[in-house]
Symmetry: C2
Subunit: 179 residues, 2 copies
């Protein structure tokens, strides 16, 4: 039980915040496309290198990392929504983001009570496993931020007017006087 | 004390791993520069957008996020090494990475016993503060991975032959038979 509140804060609360930030960043991309008069779906096919994932695939993978990260840590992989990876428009990509944040709402901190010690595997690991803490710290966190950051970087590289604040979102600062 | 072992696993063990992965990625960049016969320091001045940090500055900032993240969480900001942000060569950037990983070695899990509840501030916040958990989850983690991923993305965009495995590093998989 020891780490459950922090695991929840990371994979539910913070990943939801980051996926919402990504939705807002896509709104900036849409404005930029309208100003420059091009189809925003072109951005979804953009990439930083020809053999790297496109923006659409970066966002799909960020979504899956959050969804399956929470599901596997909680031992609830069977209830995770299935996505077909066929999104081609901003509206479809937004629906994917919203499906995942809705799914994450279903996890309370208690859902992660056994997570740190659980043995976790996934199909491509051929039966090998990580502890829940290893999975969270060495796999889920770096992969999630890798794909969210690369999505941001593709848009930034293409001229969308976003900055680090769009990436991080608001901070729950407490004013000095109230400290 | 509750979250101290996980905080240590994130900001000491995992951040050290990621900074070492970044050092290995710089090794691939150096090989690529030698093959193509250009000065690898050119890569340190590369960026994805003219108003974004260069590779050198991305790495410096990743280093500072790890160093000051651990220092502030542990209430030990005064003992953090100071870096002048003047690195221009791969050797100088590597020295920066090594200075930070050496510093992180000085933190035991006990150093983070009070971290989750500690009020944390930094100069640019004008006296405002975050709790230690907010600082770790909403500030240190996204910032650290933002800069490490962007460093990777700059090199990937410039043709260096790296992939996700270079970014993530080795996983401590347990074989199925031993599970």
């Amino acid at each position: 039980m020891m780490h459950a509140p922090m695991i929840h804060a990371i994979v539910v609360t913070q990943f939801t915040k980051m996926l919402n930030n990504l939705g807002a960043i896509l709104g900036e991309a849409e404005k930029y496309a309208a100003e420059k008069k091009f189809d925003p779906a072109i951005l979804l096919q953009s990439r930083l290198s020809p053999d790297q994932f496109s923006l659409a695939q970066q966002i799909r993978t960020a979504c899956d990392t959050a969804k399956l990260g929470a599901a596997r840590l909680a031992g609830r992989e069977k209830d995770a929504p299935v996505h077909a990876d066929t999104e081609q428009t901003l509206a479809e990509i937004r629906a994917r983001l919203e499906s995942v944040t809705a799914y994450l709402k279903g996890f309370s901190p208690d859902a992660f009570a056994q997570s740190a010690e659980r043995r976790i595997t996934q199909p491509r690991w051929n039966g090998k496993s990580l502890s829940g803490q290893e999975f969270l710290v060495q796999h889920v966190l770096p992969n999630f931020y890798f794909h969210v950051t690369t999505a941001y970087a593709i848009l930034r590289h293409n001229g969308v007017g976003i900055g680090k604040r769009n990436f991080l979102g608001d901070m729950p600062y407490r004013e000095a006087a109230a400290a």
